[in-house]
Symmetry: C2
Subunit: 400 residues, 2 copies
């Protein structure tokens, strides 16, 4: 009667120490880890409900929005993407998706599954869109929604958004923005830019484990939601119901992931303690130091300096060097995780993250020193010691 016998008792969980310097998850702040381990409250406990209110206020600060419909969806960043799309799109609605990396492509897939008539414009991986080409596409397509990625995790490209949002609104379209890798690392100004719908993730520049997706809907998006003729196709991601739990009604929808909400609240408290401006300056400085170090090592970066993210750097692998050999050694000898390339960059580039708690001088120096050692041991000719020296010079200059 027992087709599956009792397996051996597993040994205690004991993950090896890591420096998570890939595209995410990033290293979690110690205060956030402590919050993850706290005993649970019920999902309708008055204390938990107060924590939800507090989290919404904190999210409004990091998103720079006053929108009431600002909350955390109970899934990872991709669930945030799907939430925004399935709530905004009804079958047959036209959507324009701007694709210059993996996450734009994902948006197209999600939108098609939601029944959207999707048109796309594309840019090579690593480049960004020019407002004029987006304007031309909007005029051609006449979309209800324009989807675009602020910080492309697959390439490290930093897409300017403000003018594109203005163009979309002039044409009567809404703009849906992916800020998964942006939020908490570079300025995200949802109200100032008049972004209609935005989603993010917890495991990048917020230094929280993956598992929640902060989402905010502005006035136009809420109106579109209220005007829907058809139910949202996903029950789990239906904001018309989710907002009744996050709102003052507190109508049970699903059991909120309590510990993940503790963690997000604590991660946002850490952001407030530092302040957004100081946080962005820190990310910018460490990114600059990393870029200086990689360049001093003779490596090329994928993105143009004008559109280069500080928190996620895509660097080309030197000719003749094997991707996995280097990444495996970084992990084995130093516990450093960096990401492999995606799409056309598979095997051709590494992705180095300096996100949130992980964006600090010691990580920059360790990564540069370890990478230099790996490459020299593989016979790559390098100006020895120049990488950490160049990074150090950036910090010295900033300290003046």
């Amino acid at each position: 009667m027992s087709p599956v016998p009792k397996p051996p008792v597993p040994s205690p969980l004991n993950p090896s120490p890591r420096f998570l310097m890939g595209p995410g998850p990033s290293d979690v702040h110690p205060r956030v880890l402590a919050a993850m381990g706290m005993p649970l409250l019920g999902h309708l406990d008055p204390e938990f409900v107060a924590l939800m209110d507090e989290t919404q206020d904190l999210l409004r600060y990091v998103f720079q929005t006053t929108s009431r419909m600002t909350l955390a969806v109970s899934g990872t960043g991709s669930a945030g993407m799907e939430t925004v799309i399935v709530n905004l799109i009804e079958p047959g609605d036209r959507m324009l998706v701007c694709i210059n990396g993996v996450f734009g492509a994902r948006m197209q897939d999600v939108a098609e599954r939601a029944g959207a008539a999707v048109a796309v414009i594309e840019r090579p991986y690593g480049q960004v869109f020019d407002p004029d080409e987006v304007k031309a596409a909007i005029q051609r397509v006449g979309p209800k929604v324009v989807g675009i990625v602020h910080a492309e995790t697959s390439t490290g490209a930093w897409q300017p958004i403000e003018e594109i949002a203005r163009i979309a609104h002039e044409a009567g379209a809404m703009i849906a923005l992916d800020t998964v890798t942006a939020l908490g690392g570079i300025p995200v100004e949802i109200d100032a830019w008049e972004i209609d719908a935005v989603y993010s993730g917890t495991q990048k520049c917020l230094s929280c484990p993956p598992g929640l997706a902060p989402v905010s809907f502005g006035t136009r998006a809420v109106e579109a939601l209220n005007r829907r003729k058809k139910k949202v196709q996903s029950w789990y991601l239906d904001l018309t119901m989710i907002q009744k739990y996050w709102g003052s009604d507190r109508v049970y929808h699903h059991t909120a992931p309590i510990s993940m909400n503790y963690a997000l609240r604590e991660a946002l408290a850490v952001v407030v303690e530092e302040g957004l401006e100081a946080r962005f300056a820190r990310h910018a400085l460490n990114g600059r130091a990393l870029h200086a170090g990689l360049s001093a090592m003779g490596l090329s970066l994928v993105t143009d300096p004008k559109h280069r993210l500080p928190q996620l750097t895509c660097v080309k692998i030197p000719d003749g060097v094997d991707d996995l050999t280097v990444r495996r050694r970084l992990l084995r000898d130093w516990g450093i995780e960096v990401g492999g390339g995606l799409g056309p960059f598979k095997g051709q580039a590494w992705r180095i993250g300096l996100m949130g708690y992980g964006s600090r001088q010691s990580n920059v120096t360790l990564l540069l020193a370890a990478l230099e050692t790996c490459l020299r041991d593989l016979g790559v000719s390098l100006p020895a010691g120049e990488a950490t020296h160049a990074a150090s010079a950036v910090y010295a200059e900033a300290a003046k």
Copy 2:
């Protein structure tokens, strides 16, 4: 330029101690809380990938299945429900849903959003379905899938499944089973009963925080998935892609909630250490003691003794007693959370959970003593002290 000024720095997170004796989340095992607080590995780290393999094996044990497609979906139990339905159902497919509580009703809603032609049969809350009436409905409807709930969290009813599964198969239908409150608390025999698709949650009898949904698909369900003509409508919950990450390909889909997977692995390790049979016996014993105590207090239980779950008990509120007055006092004075009634039982019943780590003699005794105190203070005439005495007699009898 900063429409949302920096809020005051929040005070440190410090949740009040609780005894979570409602319908879930339940109290988390201390070992699982410790796992939640451990530093993260990346979602493609060899150690994390090994942990996923191990978790799948442990899930196969608790589900009692050898099915390869056994994994944890990155959302709560309701995401598990939606995963099973959107992967099995294509628009126009007929589905029969058996509704005797909130979660059957939710299944109907999810299935309709997935485009199913849904037929329902209903039983009053608290009752279970008879195989004959399910058989008649299957013959009338000719469904592709029959959806039914094993342990109704809204009523405490324990639905026998084996014969209904046999009837469904004889008619060429698949059976989709909700074991959110069942798994780890009462026997769940997926292979022996030939269940085609099953989902659960982590926050009930597994004593893990909410945030993952264990799911398993058997041979028929996998074949139906492979035969689909149309993409699964949810990108996030598409098992054809999710299994490529959980399988040996390790193709990136979304960033797995690392800490929640640590926690589930640890929770399952705790289950293995105890063993399923011992665990079920413990739940049965504590349930029996609670039922004896409540009955000794003169309270009525909603479900028939033959179909009464040990881990979730729905007890009628005595005439003249206000639901919230009692629940607020239990929370304020003892930190005890019990659940309110749902649907027709709103304000009419309480739901008392003894799940996983929370299923123990001290919790039974504390709850009975506290509830007796509340009711006597409200003027309910009770045989004083009889409740804890009756519970104690059950333990004494079992120890013989």
